[in-house]
Symmetry: C3
Subunit: 424 residues, 3 copies
């Protein structure tokens, strides 16, 4: 994980371009991702795939010919999708193309201009004060181009499970050297996929690495029909900070995935921050839209918008560590484990009680409480048999009798094994 973090961090990712392809190729060394391309200019719903942007070099030189800003030192120095420029201009004219943060004088901000043809440089406020002077002239150079015959790249992996119904796991790849937003999401998703590949799964899992917003919209456009098989999902973003866990709910706050996300988090840290659903955010904007209405959650560690280094060069590998990502990965794994347990059963002996002894179901120590529970195995057996009408899922039962989903699932599978219960 640390290895992948360090290899991917320097790559200059964007909406399109070779940086994205290189990122996906690195991931392919860990999981069998398919890399796909959608051509520039293609109309996708209300949007159009932009031309592919390539940048080779960029700098600003002062009148002494010294490079005072150099793209090769940080890919954040250039506003993404800047057009090419090479000219010598006065400070007064250059100034409006320079972006910095007075509040964070050591940080280079992250800026984009996807839909307006412009150019610009980002720099620290300290550099702005040290290297620039009124009335001076500067040579600016950006060697970039836009390819109308290019394409937008994304990665996709479908892991088939016992059921054809799918869980969507989506993360975005369009940010350059920003560690928490969202290199951390890329790394977590890669290792979550690796874990899913290593075991038998109940659901199928559709895992996508895609540029945020336009990329996701393009993906949905290309795969609209397949989306009907998606039950629900998650958007993996900003999962590697040093701060608290966060949990953003899906649009239907009563959906059981929210309940199970809370249970998963409580398992690790009861002090996580809970965020209501908000139409502002990441790709849940797309998945939640009227035409799709796919519930997706996000479990975060230093959520986007909320940490001070957000969208600056300080969101780097000093701030984000593999061990932090690992912690959030554990929460996601727990969530998936619980989600897989939430099944619906039907009592096959619907009329009257089941004769437990006949089916060898009478628990040896029927009276003993299950660990961390006020209920015994016998309690669970009887309640599961009572509620299993083919419509009530285990999460509902767990709420009604205040039982742990894990315990209910264990007992239900035992009953199924004895042919007393069938799964729906």
């Amino acid at each position: 994980m640390k290895n992948l973090l360090e290899k991917l961090f320097p790559i200059n990712r964007s909406l399109t371009g070779d940086g994205n392809r290189e990122t996906l190729r690195q991931i392919q060394e860990i999981i069998p991702l398919e890399i796909k391309e959608i051509p520039s200019g293609k109309e996708v719903y209300d949007w159009k795939i932009p031309p592919e942007w390539t940048i080779r070099d960029a700098w600003i030189k002062n009148s002494s010919g010294e490079k005072i800003i150099d793209f090769k030192k940080s890919n954040l120095h250039v506003v993404q999708y800047s057009e090419a420029v090479h000219q010598t201009i006065k400070f007064e004219n250059l100034k409006k193309n320079l972006h910095f943060l007075e509040n964070l004088p050591n940080a280079i901000p992250y800026r984009t201009t996807y839909y307006q043809k412009k150019w610009g440089f980002c720099l620290t406020f300290n550099d702005f004060q040290n290297f620039f002077e009124e009335n001076e002239k500067y040579e600016v150079f950006i060697d970039s181009d836009f390819n109308e015959n290019g394409s937008l790249s994304y990665g996709e992996l479908l892991i088939s499970g016992e059921k054809k119904e799918e869980i969507l796991i989506s993360t975005y790849i369009c940010h350059p050297s920003l560690a928490n937003d969202n290199l951390s999401g890329i790394v977590l998703t890669t290792f979550l996929a690796k874990w899913l590949l290593s075991k038998k799964n109940y659901y199928s899992y559709r895992i996508i690495f895609v540029p945020e917003t336009i990329g996701t919209i393009a993906y949905l456009h290309e795969n609209q029909k397949k989306m009907q098989k998606i039950n629900f999902g998650c958007v993996v973003t900003t999962v590697g900070g040093q701060g608290k866990f966060g949990f953003k709910k899906s649009f239907d706050e009563n959906h059981f995935i929210n309940f199970l996300a809370e249970k998963s988090l409580e398992n690790f840290d009861k002090k996580y921050i809970s965020y209501p659903f908000d139409i502002f955010g990441s790709d849940e904007r797309q998945y939640s839209s009227v035409g799709f209405r796919i519930n997706t959650i996000s479990i975060t560690k230093d959520k986007y918008y909320e940490y001070p280094f957000y969208h600056t060069s300080l969101d780097n590998l000093d701030f984000v560590k593999a061990e932090n990502i690992e912690k959030t990965l554990d929460v996601y794994k727990k969530w998936i484990s619980l989600v897989e347990m939430n099944r619906i059963y039907k009592n096959k002996i619907a009329f009257g009680e089941v004769m437990l002894s006949k089916h060898d179901l009478y628990p040896k120590n029927g009276g003993a409480f299950l660990p961390e529970s006020h209920l015994t195995e016998l309690d669970l057996i009887q309640w599961i048999l009572f509620y299993s009408d083919g419509k009530t899922d285990l999460v509902e039962i767990s709420k009604k009798i205040d039982a742990k989903l894990e315990d209910l699932f264990f007992v239900a599978e035992k009953l199924k094994g004895k042919n007393v219960l069938m799964e729906i």
Copy 2:
């Protein structure tokens, strides 16, 4: 308004009769009301239109021949629907036909005997004490008759709007010289209709001036089929007192018209009195009945039953002023404005997000909060697009995100203007 109040106040209105016709004719000078007649004797559901009652004169003379009670001085002096009488009788026999209020010694009470053949006089308790003596004889005279070939009169005005669905505005005209109950309602309704005629409306408005209970039942009987086009409505009554605003809810307390009535009142005075739905009251008794189930609200100013002068001669033009009616009229206008804004839209770009810049929808000052709101225009745009599934109305959205209906409507219409939203 003051003019109309003063012209209509002296007229002797009742269930039937020329006083009602004269009242409707005066209203016709302001709005193009149609006057309609339902013949006496006609069966209307469980009821029958009574004969038309005419009264020309009535008085009581003492033994000296002095008129001590005179109908010409106040039409409240005679119990409505009194039969004719002319005789000289002893005080002991007269007494049971005299009605007064010991608690309000200056007030003449208002009494009716629609369904029992009787006669009677109403007078102040002071007059009763000053002018009558035990063992004396009095000459009583009532010149009235019942016309089996008469009719019950009502006024109706349909103001067509963009939609064929109708809002009902109903007020009652059967009370003689009582200012708040319900001359105030007649005057407000007239000027509310005038206002509706002066502008383009979304809904159509069916405005009726009708005698309470039997008149309304008769109206419903004659127009049963048309009633299916009524969405909801209001019963305008007792709107001109000097006391507090009141609000009586419709039978379905969750209907959005109740929510919007509260919003309307809060706009003017947060200290209004809230009344739950009650099957006792005015013509909501009829509109709410099993066969119709039309939700109607009432916004009042000194609600019937509640003010001390209710149904007495003190409910006069000293108590009721045009400027009070004007205040309640403003609340009704606000309510109608809000009701017209509660529409349902469907996002035409249902799949994924709308590209705001493409439709010139990105607000210039997207980050600025709307007046008296914690939300920006951009917030409203995104939430409306998210919720507009063709089923969710703006009031529901306003509750979900705590936004003002006016702001939502303004933004939704803008989105509709840009062809991004369609109205359902």
Copy 3:
């Protein structure tokens, strides 16, 4: 009642056998019960009717030949369904077949071994200490047998009412000399049936006396189709203790039978104990099962599991008195009376108000409050007419306007009598 209690107490009842038949025959002297038999060996859902068990005698003699334990003194002395035995054995080997309660040293516990071939004796802890010694030998004798050609007996009585829909009243007869659990239930049910036979009923009543669990399952198996006519019911158990009333809810806690049981209890004693639905308990386990889902309540006096003498010889006629059972019987009668009043009506004059005077419905003292109520008869008339849409039952109306069901029923029947309301 006292008489029946005393006659039935000594009888040795069990899952099967002549004790049960004798019990049912005694009940037949009071109500026209039908006694039915289901043959041993028959498969009933997940269960099989066991062979019929007969016991004639049983004792333990000490080495001096003295009977120290004698079945003839208490039928609790033998573990029910013990197999025959006759041998002289050492205390060490006998000990594991002796059951007593150290906590209740005067009490003989009640034990069964329906599904495992074993034998055993139950005795007081005092007797165990006084009569048994280490290293001694004892002669044990049980004269019992199992008849594979026997049967399981139950009693049934259907009391037809105005409606074919049935209320189930179920009690269990499988316990030997235990007074509260459940001789009290047998006695109460007998006299409840007698009361129902003495009057005209709205619903039909299906009353069953049946061995718990396997008997009930067998009954349901034999009568599965008939069960579709059951609306709801009650399981009569432990109704004669000296302690508090208890109320166990049916599985659908919002079912009106629960609300009415609470009203019934409040009528007698506001301090009853409320128990939520629990899948552990008596025959509601069977009635509530997925295939039947029949709501049943239990009103108890010293509920099973809860009183210290439960399932011991101290649950005898010193603890249970006829006058206690009478008290619980009164609650059940009240409950049935209320249940019969919860009807649905439809206003026949659905459009507009009913003209009360025309139907002679205007209450003489319309303004007087009904006893223990904040409502007048006129209030009830108008609210019933308003709500009676053919779907809303009187319990719902009673909750909406906080009226007593009895008052609503009285007024509704009056309205029905005047042909203004029809029953659905």
